[in-house]
C-alpha cells in the first residue's frame, strides 16, 4: 500500500506509470495555453462542486495488487480444480490453447469498433468469418457480428419479430430458461409489448402473436420439436425464434432446416471462458428478408478503389449512430473480442471437431444418466431426447446433496427446486472424465433411498 499521494488541498504528488506527462511537461503545456494552473480548465464546473473528496484507496503497486488479486481469485472454488456438472446456459467446454495468445494480441485487444475500415481490416475480416460460421451452425442465411449474450439476444429477436410483424404479443414456450424469459420481459414489457407463456405440449399461439420463442435444446436440456413449433407459428403468421446452444449444432439438425425465422444463442460454449457469467457473445441469425430489421453490427465484403477485396461495416442505417431513436436497437459496443475467441475456436474444432465435442458430450451425459438412473431414489421427470443436460429428481434436497458433493471435489448440477421440486439439472461435457462421472454417481448413491 502506498502512502496517499493526495495532499490536504487536493494536490497530487504522484507520478503514474500510465501517464507520460511529467510535472515539467505539464507546466510547459499550461504555458502554451497561457494558464497559471490546471484548475483553470475546470472552471465550468460549478464552484461549490469542484474537486470533491474522493474516498478511494491510495495507489497500489503492481506487486502488492497482484498478490491481493491472487488471494481474491484463489478464494473461489474454480472449475479447473473441481469436477463440475453445472451448465444451464453456461458451459465448461474445451478451449484450445491458441485462443488466448491470439485474442490478447494488442492489435485485436486494444482496437475499437472498425469505423475506419482501412485501418481495421483484421477486425472486419474476423467479423465476416464469424458471420459465416454462425450461418453455417444455425443453417441460416445472414448473421450479425454478435450481441451482448444469449438472453438479451433472444429479447432483441422478440423485439425484431414485433417490428417485422407489426404485432405486440411475444409468446414464450414454457421450456425456455426462466432467466431468459425474465430478460425478454425487461426488454419488452416497458414499451407496451405483451409476453405470454405457452405450453410446450400441443403448442397453440394466440391470435396476433408476433412470434414464438423457443429454446433448442431447451432449458432442461431436451431437444424441442421445432417442426411442430414451426407449424404452430405459421398458423398465426408469427415468426419462429429459436435460441440455441451452438455446441448442439455439431450434431443436431439446425433450426434453419426447420424454418426458423430468427435464431439466437449464447456463443460462450465455444471458446469463451465462463468468467462468472461474462463477457460472453450473443449469436443472432435470420433470413435475408429480415436483414434490414436485424439489430447489431454487420460486416460486408466490398472492394477498394483499386478493386481489391476489403471489408466494411455495412447497413449502418439500421443503427443508432445514424438512425438514432428509429434504430433497430440501441446496441453500440458489443462483444467483438468474444466473437473472435469463438471464431478461433470454431476454426480449431473445425467440421470434425465440433461434431466430436457434441458427440462426446452426448455420450458422456447419457452415460451419467444411465448410472444415476440405476441409483434408487433418483428419477427422470422429463421424457424426450436430451443433449448434454438432463433433469434428475433427487431423494433429498439438491442443496444438501450439492454441499456433500463439494466435499468430494464435485460441483453438482443446478438446483432447480424452485421450478421442479427436488430436481437438479445436471450437465456433462467432454471435459468430464469417466472417473468424474462415476464419482458423481457414486456420491449421489449415498443419498439413495
Amino acid at each position: 500500500m502506498q502512502r496517499s499521494a493526495v495532499s490536504e488541498n487536493g494536490g497530487v504528488s504522484f507520478q503514474s506509470h500510465y501517464m507520460p506527462n511529467t510535472p515539467a511537461q505539464r507546466a510547459e503545456m499550461l504555458e502554451a495555453l497561457r494558464l497559471d494552473s490546471i484548475d483553470r480548465l475546470f472552471e465550468d464546473i460549478p464552484a461549490e462542486h469542484r474537486s470533491p473528496s474522493l474516498n478511494i484507496p491510495p495507489p497500489t503497486s503492481e506487486l502488492e495488487l497482484r498478490a491481493e488479486l491472487e488471494a481474491l481469485a484463489g478464494s473461489n472454488v474454480n472449475t479447473g480444480a473441481y469436477a463440475s456438472f453445472l451448465g444451464a446456459g453456461v458451459y465448461n467446454h474445451f478451449i484450445p490453447s491458441i485462443m488466448k495468445p491470439l485474442i490478447t494480441r494488442g492489435e485485436f485487444l486494444t482496437s475499437y469498433t472498425p469505423y475506419q475500415a482501412e485501418a481495421s481490416q483484421g477486425t472486419l475480416q474476423v467479423a465476416y468469418e464469424f458471420q459465416t460460421m454462425v450461418c453455417s451452425l444455425m443453417g441460416m442465411e445472414v448473421a450479425n457480428d454478435g450481441m451482448y449474450e444469449g438472453a438479451s439476444s433472444l429479447a432483441e429477436a422478440a423485439l425484431m419479430a414485433c417490428r417485422v410483424t407489426g404485432r405486440e404479443e411475444i409468446c414464450v414456450l414454457d421450456t425456455v430458461s426462466p432467466t431468459y424469459r425474465e430478460v425478454v420481459e425487461t426488454y419488452a414489457l416497458p414499451q407496451g409489448l405483451k409476453v405470454s407463456v405457452v405450453d410446450s405440449e400441443g403448442t397453440r399461439l394466440p391470435e396476433g402473436a408476433a412470434c414464438l420463442l423457443t429454446q433448442y435444446p431447451n432449458f432442461y436440456g431436451y431437444m424441442e420439436d421445432l417442426a411442430a413449433h414451426k407449424v404452430a407459428a405459421q398458423e398465426r403468421d408469427a415468426l419462429l425464434v429459436v435460441s440455441t446452444d451452438p455446441v448442439a449444432m455439431g450434431m443436431f439438425r439446425p433450426p434453419g432446416e426447420f424454418g426458423a425465422d430468427v435464431v439466437t444463442g449464447e456463443g460462450q460454449a465455444i471458446g469463451v471462458p465462463m468468467s462468472f457469467g461474462g463477457p460472453f457473445i450473443g449469436l443472432f441469425a435470420t433470413r435475408k428478408k429480415y436483414l434490414r430489421q436485424m439489430p447489431g453490427r454487420i460486416v460486408g465484403r466490398t472492394v477498394d478503389s483499386e478493386g481489391k477485396t476489403g471489408y466494411v461495416l455495412t447497413l449502418q442505417t439500421r443503427e443508432q449512430h445514424i438512425r438514432r431513436e428509429r434504430a433497430t436497437s440501441n446496441i453500440c459496443t458489443s462483444q467483438a473480442l468474444l466473437a473472435l475467441a469463438s471464431a478461433i475456436t470454431i476454426a480449431a474444432l473445425g467440421k470434425q471437431g465440433l461434431k466430436k465435442v457434441a458427440e462426446l458430450s452426448y455420450h458422456k451425459a447419457h452415460y451419467a444418466a444411465s448410472l444415476i438412473g440405476r441409483v434408487a431414489g433418483y428419477s427422470f421427470p422429463i421424457r424426450g431426447t436430451f443433449f448434454k443436460e438432463f433433469v434428475v429428481k433427487c431423494p433429498a434436497s439438491p442443496r444438501v446433496i450439492n454441499e456433500r458433493l463439494l466435499e468430494s471435489g464435485i460441483i453438482g448440477g443446478l438446483d432447480i427446486s424452485h421450478v421442479m421440486p427436488n430436481c437438479m439439472l445436471i450437465c456433462v461435457t467432454e471435459m468430464n472424465t469417466r472417473h468424474e462421472i462415476e464419482a458423481l454417481a457414486g456420491a449421489l448413491s449415498e443419498f439413495s433411498r
Binding site: G10, L41, P59, L65, A73, F108, Y180, M274, L291
Partner: protein, 484 residues
C-alpha cells in the same frame, strides 16, 4: 502472392477435407444410443484447417489493425486510453476465469467481494448511492437507467410522463435507448456557446416530461456551466435527469454527478476505466443511482450480509438485462485499474486528459475551425469546414491521418457540427505524441491547399485503399458462400 493478398483468403477457402485443428480425446465411456437420424444433421459446413494455419491467419489479420498498443488512437467519445496488461492478467486468473455464474455464493466469495468493492468505488466516484454492475455496455446501462426512471414515474402513478429530452449533440444510443423504453424523444438544441439551450428546454418542461438524458461533459467536449440550472429545471417539471457518464474521464476526482443533481447515470468501464475495447467490445456499463432510484436498479447487485457477500435483487428492480451478473471479466479489469491508480492516480487522469485535449485545441485552432472557442474538457471538436472550402472533406482528412500513422478522430459526430472531427487524446499519451499529431494535422491542412488530391485519395499506405461502402450496402455480401 505476398502475405497480404494471401491473408485475404478466408478460412473456408483454405479448408482442405481431412485437416483437423485440434485433437480431441477418445470416448472413455460406453457408447450410448443415438437419437433418430431425423434429429441429426449430416455435417456442419465448417472449415478444416490445422493449428499452424489458424495461428498464422489470425496473427496476420491482427496486423492489419490499428490499435492503442500500436498507434495513437484519438477516436473522440471512445476514450482510447492505454489498457494495462495487469488488468488482463487479473481477469485470466483461474479463480476468476474458470468460475461458473451459478455456483452458490459460498463458493465465489472472492468474486463477489471484488464486485462489492467495485460497486462502492463507483458510487464514491460518481457521488451516487447505489450501483448495479449488471449492464453489459453503455447503451444497455442507458436502457436500464431510462427504465428505472420510467418505473419510478409509474410507481408514483405518473405513468403519463412519456417524453424524454435528448440534446441534439447526444450520442445515438441516447435517443435509441429512450425509444426502446417506449419514450417519445424530443431533441433539445445546443446554444451558440455549445451549452444546452435553456429557452428551448423551458418550453419542453411540460407535465408529460419524464426526464432528460444529458452527457457531461457533452459530446462536444464541453462542460455545461449551467448544468445545475438545467437539472433544476427538469426536476421542477417533475422529470428526472439521466447522466450519460461515458465522458467521465474528464471529471474523475473533479466533479461528482451525484453532487450536480443527476438522478441516475451509467459509466463506461471500457472507456474511463481502461478495459480493452476488443475491436468493439466487451464493455460494461454499470448504472449508479441516487437513493430515490436505487431500489429500481437492474438485478443482481452484490450485498454484504453478516460478513458474507450475496447476490440480491433490488426491491423494485427493473429486472434482469442478461442471463448472468454482468461482464465480470471486464469488472475485474476495472477494479484492478482503480486500485492501481488509487485516489491520487484517478485525479491525475482527468487533469492530464483535459490538459492534453486543450493543448491540441490551442495548437490547431488557427488551422482548423474551432466551433466553440472556449477551453474544452477531455476532447476537442474541430471542424474541417475550412479544408472543405478547398475541396477536402473531413472524412478525407481523417483517412489521410492514417497515412501519417495516426488513427483518425471520430468523424461527423456530433451531428450538430459540420465536418466534425472529434479528437480525444486521453491522458496516456505523451506531449511528444501530441506534438507529432499536431504536426500531422497541420501538414494535412497544408496538403489540402497544395495537393488536395493527395488527401482526397487517402489512405495510400494501408493494406487497402479507400473502400467502397456504397457498394457494400447496395449489394450486401455478408458471408462466404460455397460456389456450386
Amino acid at each position: 502472392m505476398n502475405t497480404l493478398d494471401n491473408n485475404r483468403r478466408l478460412l473456408m477457402e483454405r479448408s482442405v477435407p481431412g485437416r483437423v485443428g485440434t485433437v480431441l480425446p477418445d470416448l472413455d465411456v460406453p457408447e450410448q444410443p443415438l437419437p433418430g437420424k431425423e434429429m441429426l444433421r449430416d455435417e456442419v459446413d465448417l472449415p478444416e484447417v490445422t493449428e499452424p494455419e489458424i495461428v498464422r491467419y489470425f496473427t496476420n489479420l491482427s496486423r492489419m489493425n490499428f490499435s492503442i498498443d500500436t498507434h495513437f488512437y484519438p477516436l473522440g467519445s471512445c476514450t482510447m486510453k492505454y489498457n494495462p496488461k495487469i488488468n488482463d492478467e487479473a481477469a485470466f486468473l483461474p479463480g476468476f476465469a474458470a468460475i461458473h455464474p451459478q455456483q452458490p455464493a459460498a463458493q465465489v466469495q472472492g468474486a463477489l467481494e471484488l464486485m462489492h468493492h467495485l460497486q462502492n468505488y463507483l458510487a464514491e466516484i460518481t457521488g451516487m448511492a447505489g450501483v448495479s454492475l449488471a449492464s453489459l455496455a453503455g447503451a444497455q446501462g442507458e436502457l436500464c437507467g431510462i427504465l428505472m426512471i420510467q418505473k419510478y414515474h409509474r410507481d408514483r402513478g405518473d405513468g403519463d410522463r412519456l417524453k424524454m429530452l435528448v440534446p441534439d449533440s447526444a450520442h445515438g444510443t441516447n435517443p435509441a435507448s429512450a425509444a426502446m423504453a417506449g419514450f417519445r424523444v424530443v431533441s433539445i438544441p445546443t446554444d451558440a456557446d455549445g451549452n444546452c439551450d435553456l429557452e428551448a428546454l423551458k418550453k419542453e418542461a411540460t407535465p408529460d416530461l419524464a426526464g432528460m438524458m444529458i452527457t457531461l461533459p457533452s459530446t462536444l467536449g464541453l462542460f455545461d456551466p449551467n448544468i445545475t440550472e438545467v437539472n433544476r429545471l427538469i426536476h421542477e417539471a417533475g422529470g428526472l435527469v439521466y447522466a450519460d457518464g461515458a465522458n467521465m474521464n474528464a471529471l474523475l476526482g473533479r466533479a461528482k454527478m451525484g453532487d450536480l443533481g443527476f438522478d441516475v447515470m451509467h459509466l463506461n468501464l471500457h472507456k474511463t476505466f481502461s478495459t480493452p475495447h476488443g475491436g468493439g467490445g466487451p464493455g460494461a456499463g454499470p448504472v449508479c443511482a441516487q437513493p430515490n432510484l436505487q431500489p429500481y436498479l437492474a438485478a443482481p447487485v452484490v450485498e454484504k450480509r453478516d460478513g458474507r457477500f450475496v447476490l440480491s435483487t433490488p426491491e423494485k428492480t427493473i429486472g434482469k438485462v442478461s442471463a448472468s451478473h454482468g461482464n465480470f471479466g471486464v469488472l475485474v479489469r476495472a477494479y484492478t485499474y482503480i486500485r492501481t491508480l488509487g485516489d491520487a492516480g484517478l485525479k491525475l487522469v482527468s487533469e492530464n486528459a483535459v490538459l492534453n485535449a486543450n493543448y491540441i485545441l490551442s495548437k490547431l485552432k488557427d488551422k482548423y475551425l474551432l466551433p466553440f472557442d472556449r477551453p474544452c474538457m477531455h476532447e476537442v471538436v474541430l471542424s474541417a469546414n475550412w479544408q472543405k472550402a478547398k475541396g477536402v472533406r473531413g472524412l478525407e482528412t481523417a483517412k489521410r491521418l492514417l497515412d501519417y500513422g495516426f488513427h483518425a478522430p471520430t468523424m461527423y459526430f456530433p451531428l450538430t457540427v459540420d465536418e466534425a472531427l472529434l479528437i480525444e487524446p486521453t491522458e496516456t499519451e505523451s506531449k511528444e505524441t501530441l506534438d507529432e499529431f499536431i504536426e500531422a494535422m497541420r501538414a494535412i491542412d497544408q496538403e489540402a491547399t497544395e495537393n488536395p488530391e493527395l488527401v482526397q485519395n487517402a489512405p495510400h499506405t494501408l493494406p487497402v485503399r479507400r473502400l467502397n461502402e456504397a457498394q457494400a450496402a447496395r449489394r450486401p455480401d455478408l458471408r462466404w458462400e460455397r460456389k456450386e
